[in-house]
């Protein structure tokens, strides 16, 4: 009887040991899968998130789901407010953000990140690598590669700046310049719209986001004032609007009336521009050229 008992036990011990080995392997594998999540979770350490997570993971069963849901909704609302505030002040609204870890150790981590969004109506997508060195002197955070994708229509004035900023990996400069550029573009759009609504019968803009605006008297379709308003971006990221006034008058008309006023238009406009700013200067031109009769 005694021997039998021992035998049974031995068998059970072996079975259990086998079982434990299997479970251990399984747990180790699952833990590996979980590690990624757990890292992510440390970022989301609010009380309501912790409770919600332990609820969906089935760690706590007694929690009142309604309470957790409502506190989570509250948190979402707060975060939405916060995001709106950042979007407003930064002039940039972000649509998506993804990150994946390329390298991670005690001293260094490298993450590949991708951010997309828009600044006014300029859409962008940027990809970059963020590396963080946790030295004992000064922890250093830097961008190690930087790549920008933008709509082709927006690129004309931006291209030389863009290639420079990608090379220098200056992501902060890129966004500062993008914001200023977009502000200046908005100013131009507003000014053009203003003239089109105010002087609809004499003003014409060829496209929605064009850099050209033309004026001509309805009775004189051959004589045109062209306003060329471009927003230039230097390699260093300096944004400067440039407004020029050009005249298009048939050669024959010029031969007949060699007036100083027409020849010196461009220079005269520039001094007007310096004094009054673009909107008021253009108003003056329209008035002076007799395009409108009050």
């Amino acid at each position: 009887m005694e021997g039998k008992l021992n035998e049974e036990n031995m068998e059970e011990v072996m079975l259990l040991e086998e079982n434990i080995r299997r479970l251990q392997a399984e747990v180790a594998e699952l833990q590996g899968q979980c590690q990624k999540h757990q890292k992510e979770l440390t970022l989301h350490s609010s009380q309501s998130m912790k409770r919600a997570l332990s609820l969906v993971c089935g760690h706590t069963l007694q929690e009142d789901t309604h309470v957790v849901l409502s506190s989570l909704r509250e948190e979402v609302e707060q975060l939405e407010d916060d995001l709106e505030r950042q979007s407003n002040i930064n002039g940039i609204s972000l649509r998506s953000f993804t990150a994946c870890t390329l390298e991670s150790s005690d001293t260094k981590s490298v993450q590949q990140m991708c951010v997309s969004g828009q600044c006014s109506d300029l859409k962008f997508q940027v990809e970059f690598e963020l590396s963080e060195v946790k030295g004992d002197e000064r922890p250093e955070k830097s961008i190690t590669s930087f790549n920008v994708v933008m709509g082709a229509g927006d690129l004309q004035n931006f291209s030389s700046f863009l290639s420079g900023v990608e090379e220098s990996k200056d992501i902060l400069l890129f966004f500062r310049t993008l914001r200023t550029f977009s502000d200046r573009m908005d100013e131009r759009r507003r000014a053009f719209q203003h003239f089109q609504t105010k002087y609809g019968h004499v003003v014409c803009a060829p496209g929605d986001n064009s850099s050209l605006l033309t004026f001509h008297h309805p009775d004189l379709p051959g004589c045109i004032f062209l306003v060329h308003w471009s927003v230039d971006v230097s390699k260093e990221g300096e944004v400067t609007p440039k407004v020029d006034l050009l005249t298009k008058i048939p050669d024959r008309a010029l031969q007949l009336f060699q007036s100083q006023a027409v020849v010196g238009t461009a220079e005269a406009f520039h001094s007007l521009l310096r004094l009054l700013g673009p909107e008021a200067a253009l108003e003056e031109v329209i008035r002076a050229a007799g395009l409108i009769t009050d």
Binding site: N9, L23, C34, M49, C57, H59, Q86, F97, L173
Partner: protein, 307 residues
């Protein structure tokens, strides 16, 4: 750990069966029964506790495994909701959830939304956003001004502003040689927060950039002696030596435009006037005007202009 209580006179065996003791058969049989029990006790308790230990282990591992499985399952659910948020946008996903009765799905959706929002907020921070927060029940705001040069994140400055009829700075750690008042007052009067912060941020970044350039000159070009520089890093005087002509040049870089990292004027001083007239050094001046100084010096060294 709980210490297992050891029963000295067990009336039951480990598996719950009553101990084999037949009371009717007299002293001898009782003694033999005791003997069996004594002998078996030498082996049994050890074995029994081993089995129990193993059983407990297996049980604990099973619990742990189920817990991890549940966790992974939940995270798959969160991931699913995240993808949905990304593909259809927050508003559309929100609408879909309104008809969802399953509380677990609702939870997963909200968790995904919180994570998504936090990531977008982090992205704003990384791309150099102002990180605006309200303080004193909306009476004030705090902003962060991040600086970086060529991809390296440098100092961040903080400001607390009073949001009254005008914007006023109540506290800040911006260096005193940055003319805060001059930069911010006009926009502050109009409560134009962006107009207030943008020019300041440009200045701070230009300053951080110039200072970083100075650091890099010292680090990368030990043969170049920095003779003079100021706090604002708006002037830099360096001593260069020419290996071929065996002479030294004093190079003065002026950064009068404080919104830029590049100099507005470059001036050389040297006893050898002819050298300064040479096209080589005219090119060097151009190079220093258009390229950050640490890089320009590198290029000049490569061309054997300086030692």
């Amino acid at each position: 750990m709980n210490k297992q209580q050891v029963d000295i006179f067990p009336t039951k065996q480990g598996d719950g069966r009553p101990l084999n003791m037949e009371p009717a058969k007299g002293v001898l049989s009782h003694l033999s029964a005791l003997e069996v029990r004594a002998r078996s006790r030498q082996v049994q308790p050890r074995q029994r506790s081993r089995v129990e230990e193993l059983r407990a282990r297996a049980e604990a591992l099973t619990v742990q495994r189920d817990r991890l499985k549940a966790e992974i399952h939940a995270h798959k659910g969160i991931e699913k909701h995240k993808t949905r948020l990304n593909n259809r946008g927050a508003a559309a996903a929100e609408e879909e959830m309104e008809t969802e009765d399953n509380e677990n799905e609702q939870l997963l959706h909200l968790i995904a939304r919180v994570m998504d929002l936090k990531q977008l907020l982090y992205a704003h921070h990384i791309i150099g956003g102002y990180d605006i927060t309200k303080t004193r029940r909306g009476k004030g705001i705090c902003v962060t001004l991040s600086t970086a040069y060529e991809g390296v994140y440098l100092e961040t400055y903080n400001m607390e502003l009073d949001v009254g009829p005008t914007l006023k700075i109540s506290r800040h750690n911006v260096p005193p040689f940055i003319p805060l008042g001059e930069l911010c007052e006009p926009a502050g009067r109009q409560k134009d927060l962006r107009g207030f912060l943008d020019p300041l941020l440009t200045r701070l970044n230009a300053f951080a950039g110039r200072r970083q350039q100075l650091r890099l000159v010292k680090e990368l070009h030990p043969s170049v002696t920095v003779m003079e520089s100021n706090m604002l890093c708006s002037i830099l005087v360096i001593l260069l030596s020419t290996p071929r002509e065996k002479t030294t040049l004093l190079c003065t870089l002026n950064y009068t435009d404080h919104t830029r990292c590049l100099p507005t004027g470059v001036h050389f001083d040297c006893e050898d006037k002819k050298l300064l007239e040479s096209s080589k050094w005219k090119n060097n001046r151009k190079l220093l005007m258009e390229t950050p100084v640490h890089k320009a010096l590198g290029a000049m060294k490569n061309m054997d202009c300086i030692g």
